[in-house]
Structures are given as C-alpha cells and as structure tokens.
Assembly symmetry: C2
Homo-oligomer: 423 residues x 2
C-alpha cells in the first residue's frame, strides 16, 4: 500500500471503499476474539502443569513446617532463589502472596497511612503527585487514581522516561512523592531503561525527601528476541546517596501461573524494616506451601531461565505473526508506527493522531476486543488519542491471524477516514 500522505482524494475514496468491503466480510464472520489483556495462553500454562500437583516435602530447608503459621518474610529457599535470579541481597527480599500488584498497592497504602522514612503520612498532605511515564501500565495508574494521587504524564523515549523532564519535575515539586517504572521490556512499549537512565534515577535530586521509585520489574526475565540487561537500581540509588529510594517488585505470575505464583518486594534495609513492622500487623504470613512448591519446581535461577526460554519459544511465533503483519500491512503507509519489543508481553502501536479510539471501535464491531484506547495513559487520557496496546499471547495462532487482520484493517479505515476529513 502506498503512503496515504501521498494519495489523492480520489485514491483515498477508492481505498476506503475497498477497505469497507473487506471489513464487512470480516463482520459477517461473527468472530469473538480478545487481545485486550496480557494473559498467557493455555498452551503456555500447560508447560507448567507439573507444578499443580507438585508435592513438596512440607519442611523447608531451615526445618520450617510450611503447613503452619510463621516466617513472615518467606522461606529461605524462596528468598535465595530470587536473590540469585535478580542479584538482590537476600536480606532485602520479603516474599509476599500471589500478586506483585497487591504488594505495590500495599506499599502505597503504607505510605498513605503511615508515611515512609519518618515523613508525614501522604494521606495527611493536601496533594500527592506521581510521575507516570506513559504509555504505561493501566493498573499502576488505577492505583494512583483510586488513592487520589495526581498523575503527571512523562513521555517515554527509546532509553526510558524523558529524564530531563523527570529531573526537572522531581527537583522542584515536593508534592511529587513517587514514580512508576517498568524498567525492562516496559508495558506496553517493550522499552528497556538504559544504564544512564537508571543512574540518573538514582542520583537525581528530589524536593520530597520521601520520593520513592516503584520499580516494577514485571518482565525482568521475560526475554523474547534478545536478552537485555538492566542496571542495578539499588546500586544506582546508593551511589546517588538515595539508598531508600526504590521499592522493587517481581513475581512469578508470568513464569508459572498468574494468580497462583509467588510475588516479592525488595528494598533497602531501612525500608524493609518499615515494611516488616507493618506487614506483621497485616498478616501472620503468606502461603509457604505454595512458596515451597514453586521453588522446588523452579529449582534455581538457571531453572527459571531455562523455563523462560521454553516459554519464549512458545510465545515467539505469536509476536512474529503480529510484527510481520504490522510490517506487511502498515509498513510505510503513514498510518502507524510501532516498536519491535525484545521481550515482555506487548506490542505498542501509535496510529495517526486521533485515530486510536476509532480503531478500537472498528475492531470491536468486527468481533475483536483490544485494550481500550487511552488505557495506557493516566486518567485513560491519551493526549493524541493514538497509542494502542496489542497483547498477542492469549489467543492461539489460529485466532491471532484473523484478529490482527481485522486490527490492521481497522487502523487503515480509521486513518483513511481521518485523512479524508483533512484534505
């Protein structure tokens, strides 16, 4: 297809007609497909089926009876495995329940109700703001919105958030208390923070002494096409004189089973002391039987990496399909730009400005559900209404093919319509 910016009105009208004919053919097929959430496919989960009935010995390595109460911080072998995998000292790690999102939520709750680092509880302040690199993860933004935390959109660059802007804002506004980061294979763009970005995050001056980075390393071992390395945020923050800045989150949700895995929070010794002091009021302990089951199944850090290679092999054909089709259907058309991710769970695509919402509507009306336009921005407001998140993993390859055909058709139709309204 020719670049639509070079098409005449007549050419555009003819193109629209043929696209509409094609679109109606898809509508007639009455499909019902869902590419909206980053859910693993059944075929991925099947790779882990041995875990379901895995029978751990009830005793952990230190003699703890996992069937009984106790051991708030988690089993030694669980902390040790993640310490090895993520290169974080064991004593900085607290194992949680099944959900890193829940650990993030609880961390914000603690800051709201009790404060952190000896500072005023955030709920006692007139205004609390967070920096939100965007496009980003909608569930991060939903927590802020629910808590009444004002979100400031920060654009993403190929090396991470726009650090000039981040530094400027954080240095001058004491109400800015935190920042969301998905530093490796970011949701949704698959962007990996550069070493310089991590260093600047660790070193920057912040007007708030209790500024916290919510470091959601959700895709820390989720490589697909290449293995990017992420610089150590703890080291960067310590070097910058800000050891208590990061709250680090990770989980096995997309390693073993979403919802039945093991999550963790890691932080500085001072923060971990704070967290444990509050967590011991909140619960007697998390599910140690599942911790042991999971750790025995994974074995060690190399066991996790081997598992992730198998999962990547299962997922890659889907990403190939998406990326190849985008290239073939939308490449050099002027209708869309996108980033090829080397890992993670998503492909992020920008339509022409003011076409994302219409694209999602068209796809939906032809039976394919995508993440709502705007969802990747604070308050669901994409200023240019152009960013869309494609989640290729959940459908089968056979379902993904027509879903992506419809998606590309919707991008084209919305774009051509827009262009026609302008010339």
């Amino acid at each position: 297809m020719k670049n639509i910016m070079e098409m005449s009105r007549e050419e555009l009208l003819a193109l629209r007609q043929s696209l509409q004919t094609e679109y109606r053919r898809y509508q007639d097929r009455n499909m019902k497909l869902d590419l909206s959430r980053g859910k693993p496919a059944s075929s991925q989960l099947d790779l882990n089926n041995a875990l379901i009935g895995a029978m751990p010995t009830a005793k952990a390595s230190d003699g703890t009876d996992t069937r009984n109460y106790g051991l708030l911080e988690g089993l030694p072998e669980a902390r040790a495995l993640f310490s090895e995998l993520l290169n974080i000292p064991v004593e900085r790690i607290v194992i949680g329940g099944n959900s890193s999102l829940n650990l993030m939520y609880d961390s914000i709750v603690r800051c709201m109700l009790f404060g952190t680092g000896g500072q005023t509880p955030w709920c006692k302040l007139d205004k609390v703001k967070f920096l939100c690199p965007s496009p980003g993860y909608d569930r991060h933004f939903a927590i802020c919105e629910d808590m009444g935390i004002e979100m400031i959109t920060v654009p993403m660059t190929p090396t991470g958030p726009d650090m000039d802007m981040v530094e400027e804002l954080a240095a001058n506004d004491p109400a800015i208390k935190g920042m969301w980061c998905v530093p490796l294979y970011s949701n949704p763009q698959g962007i990996c923070y550069s070493d310089e970005t991590v260093d600047r995050l660790g070193a920057m001056k912040t007007a708030a002494p209790d500024f916290r980075i919510f470091w959601d390393n959700a895709y820390g071992v989720h490589h697909l096409y290449a293995e990017h390395k992420l610089k150590d945020i703890f080291g960067a923050c310590e070097a910058g004189g800000n050891p208590d800045r990061p709250f680090y989150f990770f989980s096995t949700s997309k390693i073993t089973f979403p919802g039945a895995g093991v999550a963790l929070i890691a932080s500085s010794p001072a923060n971990i002391l704070e967290i444990r002091k509050r967590m011991t009021i909140q619960t007697i302990g998390h599910d140690k039987v599942n911790q042991l089951r999971t750790i025995q199944y994974l074995g060690n850090a190399e066991g996790v990496r081997a598992l992730m290679r198998n999962l990547a092999a299962e997922m890659r054909p889907k990403f190939d399909l998406v990326l190849n089709m985008l290239e073939r259907e939308l490449g050099n058309t002027g209708l869309a730009t996108w980033i090829k991710p080397d890992g993670g769970y998503f492909v992020s695509l920008d339509t022409m400005p003011h076409c994302a919402r219409e694209t999602v509507r068209l796809a939906q009306d032809a039976g394919v559900k995508f993440t709502g336009a705007g969802a990747t921005f604070p308050y669901k407001k994409d200023p240019e209404d152009k960013n869309l998140r494609i989640a290729p993993t959940y459908p089968t390859l056979e379902e993904l093919q027509p879903a992506m055909e419809i998606f590309c058709l919707a991008v084209k139709l919305a774009g051509v319509e827009k262009r026609l309204s302008e010339i």
Copy 2:
C-alpha cells in the same frame, strides 16, 4: 490444696518453700516449650497431608482456568461451599487470599482511606475509636493500635460483650466506628454470643452511621465438646434496620493449613460492591489453584464438618489434660478461675489480681513460654493483670503435661507470694 485465703501466714510460708523446691527441680530440667500461640500441632496437620499434593483439574465448575488471571470474587464452588457451611448467600461472599486477618486489615484500610457507606474516610477524622470486648484477640488490637484507632475495653460476660455498655457507648459517641467480635468460642475465653447479644448488636443505635462490626467467626466450625449455634448476624442487622453493619470473616486456616488455606469476607450487597470496587484495584485476583485444591479436598459443608470432628478428636485430649490439671491443681484454691470452652483454640484463666505477669515470668524462667500477660487486652494493658491465655494445641501431649505442671506451679507461686504480701 487448701484455699489460700484460708491459710495462715505460717502455712503460706511453708507452702512457698515446698513450691520453690518443686520449681527448682523443673528449672533443672531445662525444658523449652511454647504454649504462646494458637498453632495447630503437626499431628493435626498430618490429617490433611493429602491436600498438599492434591491435583485439582485446572478447570473450575464454570470453565474458569484456575491457572490464569481473573475471577476476583473467587471460584463459584468455593463461594458455594462456604455459603452452605456458614449459611450466607453466595453473592455476599468474596474469597480472599490465605489470611482472614489480612482481609480484616484491608477492610480497615479501606475505611481509613476511602470511608464506607459514603461517609468521611476515617483517616480524615480527628479521632476514631473501636469497642474491644476483652479479653480478646491480640492481633485485632494490634491493627487498631497500628492505625491509631483508640481502643475502648468492654468486659466480656458469659453471653458475649457487656451489651449495656456497648449500647451506651455506641449510641453516644460518633467517633466509635467499629467493634471487634469473635462470636463463637471467643479468643481466648471460648465464650459463645447468645442470640440476644447478636440481636442487640444488630438493633442497637449507633451515633456513627458508618459503625461496623468486625465479625471474626474464626472458630465457626471448631467445636470440641459441644456444638454451639451462632445466630445469623446479617439477619439480626437487617431486622434492626442496619444491613450494612457487619463485615464477616472466616478462613480455613484452622481447618486445613494455617497460611495455606482460603479466607473470605462476607457483607451486605452494598458493602460487597464497595469492597469489590476497591479490591479490583488492589489485585487481579487471589490464588484460584489453591481455592480449587482446597474445595476439592473439602468436598462440601458436611466434608468440612467431618474433618472438624476428626480434628476435634485429635485436639480434645490436650484440652482434657489442661482442664483436668487446672481442676486438680488449682480448683478451689482461690488462686485462679477459668472457663471450660466447648470449642475454639484456647483456655482463658484469671489468676488472682496482679499475678498474671509474674506467673508468665516464672513459667518462662522454667522453660515454658506463654502468651504475654496483658496480650488479651487493648494496648497490652490488663487493668487487673490477671488474664492468661493457654494455647494447648501446638505441643504434643507429652510436652503439654510438664508445661502445664510448670504453669500451675507458677500460678501457685505467684499467688502465694501475692497473698503473703497482703497479710
């Protein structure tokens, strides 16, 4: 032993000497026993070992793949089983993670940050108070203390909290926002709330429109010697025109495995709507694989009841031992009073006034750890320093025997010393 109130100073001095000799013999045995927490014994947990490696089909009854994200409110079969067991409509039940304590904590967090029933968030108020029937559960009180909620001690009676006092306080102080209740086999006294108590809790006027009863039915099916029935708190509150008053909590912690079980919160339709609205921001969902594993293992309500009968048979000899020894060693001595519980996890004993702390110290110095004196009261302050909680379940019978011998000896020594200081 004669009642010490009838002993002369000389008799008391002679008694003290013989008790001290006996005490030193126990000290020389260098025992190390722990009766401090309500933990099940290994032998109890062994009854459930089939659960550890239980292999659920991954699919729930409604076709949900338990291995994947989703179904915030829990599996239909989990909600159905607890609905049958506890006689609560399914739609009022939300299944949580592994800990009912965590659900209680989260419920208070929601009230603090967001308010409930459209009222002001509690964290925005100058003062929030809770009614705390005491002796009670130390972890309830710890949540209040952590949140800065002022606790008001309400005495217990054989039919539940002193309802005259509860009604009087709740009706006149709008800062009183809630009340802790363990309505069946209360922790630690094993008291069961009478129908009248439940009715009065449901009907009473409260100055705070958002007054909430935290109904921790932790021992709802944990019968030992007799099966007490608990009147339906939802019905009582509805009859009283206060349908949104109760938050109801339950878990399988002391049915299957503590820490690896399934917990739930139940409440009115309006409250459940509130809870779900917030919970969906907090987590994508709880562990459904463990829900299915647990529910398949339990089968149905009768399966739970049968299991509890087996557990009771396992636990009863320990309660027999404790109660028989208390009767034999301390009966009619004037040194202590206690209640024989028909269920639950504890035996509560009152020493002579101002003797509890010294009793615990003496037992500790002879190698037996008890729950700290005062722990059963708000701020750990037992006004008369007399209540002690005995948790018989965790040790073996062989360990429990000398531990209780030491306990009784400690009660006697502390009491005799006290009496000697008075005459």
